[in-house]
């Protein structure tokens, strides 16, 4: 039972990080109908800046700079690329973000090389005891910060003008335009938020129990894809729930792989995608997503 608990805690703590990335997918999707395949590179970009500057700025300063850089990077992508073909079809834009991802991730992984970059975070390898469980402080920090960010995000999404404007645009962009809501601004803020969230997620992916940022850290964003889709691409709550679900499923599948050896091994990565496929068969718009409204 304790073992089960450990697996669940591991899964949940990882799941919140997935949730942060997935939230970025969702907020961009809601504001612009674009699925951003460059999220992994944005994560790498912000985290790379943190890793390179923490020596001079300290952890907190580096994180601030990294978040700003991640947000700025996202903004550049949005501004230069995605905004220009304003009426382009979302699939073409999704492919465009794949192009961005190829270029950006090539450059960043080339720079990182074989290094394992640490962030100089205050948690180190210290742990916290929760009853029978021992959890790395960094993961507790990740959970606390993620929960904090998610709450902050939901509050902003619910109560600020930006939140209202984004939700209105997501529902009916032409009607929103008639209210004077500028879609460009909604989209800009969405990309900034996604870039910032990705950076924070990147930092947590590189703190204990991971040794640091390396040239494959961006691939974790691939796990956030199933998270976002399982929850429903247009559901912010679904992103977080999907992240936690995927994190827990992966952790349990890995942890009990011995009992599931007929499925082959390792099961962690593939289980995320298998879950996604099953969910999509059952609910084509994810667990909490709204069915696509078809307007002729």
């Amino acid at each position: 039972m304790t073992y089960f608990g450990v697996l669940v805690i591991n899964g949940v703590s990882l799941g919140f990080i997935y949730g942060l990335i997935a939230l970025g997918f969702v907020v961009i999707y809601k504001a612009t109908e674009v699925v951003n395949f460059a999220q992994g590179s944005m994560l790498l970009l912000g985290a790379y800046i943190v890793a390179r500057t923490h020596g001079d700025l300290g952890f907190a300063g580096a994180v601030l700079l990294g978040v700003a850089a991640g947000a700025a990077g996202a903004l550049v992508i949005e501004f230069v690329l995605v905004r220009r073909p304003r009426h382009a079809d979302p699939i073409a834009l999704a492919i465009l973000t794949i192009g961005v991802d190829i270029v950006l991730s090539t450059e960043l992984t080339r720079r990182i090389g074989q290094d394992v970059l640490s962030f100089g975070d205050p948690w180190g390898n210290d742990t916290v005891d929760l009853g029978p469980f021992t959890v790395p402080q960094a993961r507790m920090g990740a959970m606390a910060v993620s929960v904090g960010l998610v709450v902050l995000f939901f509050a902003a999404f619910k109560y600020t003008s930006w939140g209202v404007a984004t939700r209105a645009t997501a529902e009916d962009s032409e009607a929103a335009a008639l209210m004077g809501i500028r879609r460009g601004r909604v989209s800009m803020v969405a990309w900034i938020v996604a870039g910032a969230l990705a950076t924070v997620a990147g930092v947590f992916l590189g703190t204990a129990p991971s040794p640091g940022l390396n040239n494959s850290s961006n691939l974790t964003a691939l796990n956030a894809f199933p998270a976002a889709v399982v929850g429903g691409l247009d559901s912010t709550g679904g992103a977080v729930a999907g992240g936690v679900l995927i994190g827990v499923v992966q952790s349990l599948m890995d942890g009990y792989n011995d009992n599931l050896s007929f499925l082959g091994s390792p099961l962690g990565d593939v289980s995320a995608y298998a879950v996604m496929l099953v969910v999509l068969l059952w609910r084509p718009s994810g667990l909490f997503g709204t069915r696509e409204v078809v307007r002729v």
């Binding site: 979302p90 492919i95 190829i102 090539t106 999509l280």
Partner: protein, 379 residues
């Protein structure tokens, strides 16, 4: 009159190209032949992906999975039971290679058919993301179903045979105009013929009723449905056809590799195929071929000439090497094409521009099937 002339000129160019390609094995070395094989395989695969993504507008990232089915299907069906290392013994069906290849293509089509209920239910980007999962599940199976795939170690693909003629270095020894025709030369012609057939088939499909139906679906599924197009059936059919193309490309890859390994059939491969059809020009068969040639050849050719390309970091130096540079170029081209040249390379080079319809990001608002008209009809 000038239209007629242009068509003749265009046909002449294509025939000239085919003649040049047919003569090439007499002149060029192993590197170029191997490269050519990859290009032929990629072009066939790209034509297939283009049917489903370029023409029907269904984003698919599962192409690597269907290629794997073709490659491993062929290796398994034509192979014999052998020990391949690490104490693993792979099974085989020992079918004649031609039959094995045909069945492998059919198998890939069947996989497409099995996936099509999912594809039929999902719209737009959801389909793209769902198709991602096939690649991951495929990799998992390739690595775990060891007695069929050989696991990480791969398994040998039997040499191709056609009516007793083997596509290997000997048996029979073959010399044409003084050039010894080994495995690569022979496979070159096989690949070339298959590509020509696939090209002609695809252009015919697109020119006919199914092509128009697929374009209508891309522009608006609702409009297509109201016009009497059976959307679900056509989407399924496009998926099946596209996976069969991928399966054939997979068979060629298996023959070119001699030993397919799971590492190859990963997400990067799917993305590479997507890059091919975007760079070539979505919706255009010719574009798919041009894009496939460009994306496949670029990294290899750059590496081949890297000694002479002084702006590239030489092996061992730090800086941007040929491999990275190729990625910048084709990643950048994907961006540029979508931003400014929706017709892709085919649109730039081709006399008539886009051949088989418009690109997804600019539905022609005047067309009767266009979503814009349906959506914004100023009633």
């Amino acid at each position: 009159m000038s239209e007629l002339l242009r068509r003749h000129a265009s046909r002449a160019v294509i025939i000239a190209l085919v003649v040049v390609l047919a003569a090439l094995p007499l002149y060029v070395g192993a590197f170029w032949l191997q490269l050519g094989l990859f290009v032929f395989a990629a072009a066939i695969g790209a034509i297939g992906l283009n049917l489903v993504t370029g023409t029907a507008g269904q984003l698919s990232l599962a192409h690597a999975f269907f290629l794997a089915i073709g490659a491993y299907g062929y290796a398994y069906l034509s192979g014999t039971a052998t020990s391949i290392g690490g104490g693993v013994v792979v099974d085989g069906r020992e079918l004649p290679p031609l039959l094995a290849a045909a069945l492998a293509v059919a198998l890939a089509g069947l996989a497409g058919l099995l996936f099509s209920p999912i594809a039929g239910r999902l719209r737009g980007i959801y389909l793209g993301v769902a198709s991602l999962s096939l690649v991951f599940i495929g990799q998992h199976v390739l690595l775990n179903a060891k007695d069929i795939t050989g696991g990480f170690y791969g398994r040998n693909a039997a040499p191709f045979q056609l009516f007793g003629f083997t596509f290997t270095d000997e048996d029979p020894d073959l010399t044409v105009l003084g050039v010894r025709f080994g495995q690569r030369e022979r496979l070159w012609y096989l690949g070339l013929v298959l590509l020509i057939l696939c090209y002609l088939f695809a252009t015919n499909v697109l020119r006919g009723r199914p092509g128009r139906a697929l374009q209508t679906i891309r522009d608006s599924e609702i409009a297509a449905a109201t016009m009497g197009v059976n959307v679900r059936a056509y989407k399924a059919w496009a998926f099946v056809l596209s996976s069969m193309y991928a399966g054939l490309a997979g068979v060629l890859v298996a023959l070119a590799f001699q030993r397919p390994v799971p590492d190859y059939f990963n997400l990067t491969l799917s993305i590479t195929y997507l890059a091919m059809i975007v760079i070539g020009g979505l919706g255009s068969v010719r574009g798919a071929v041009i894009g496939a040639a460009f994306v496949t050849a670029l990294p290899l050719v750059l590496t081949h000439y890297s000694d002479h390309l002084t702006f590239l970091a030489q092996p061992g130096e730090s800086g941007v090497g040929a491999a990275d540079f190729a990625k910048y170029v084709y990643g950048g081209l994907v961006i540029v094409v979508i931003l400014v040249a929706p017709g892709g390379l085919a649109g730039l080079f081709g006399a008539r521009g886009r051949q088989t319809g418009v690109t997804t990001d600019q539905p022609d608002p005047t067309g009767p099937s266009s979503s814009v008209m349906v959506k914004e009809d100023p009633l």
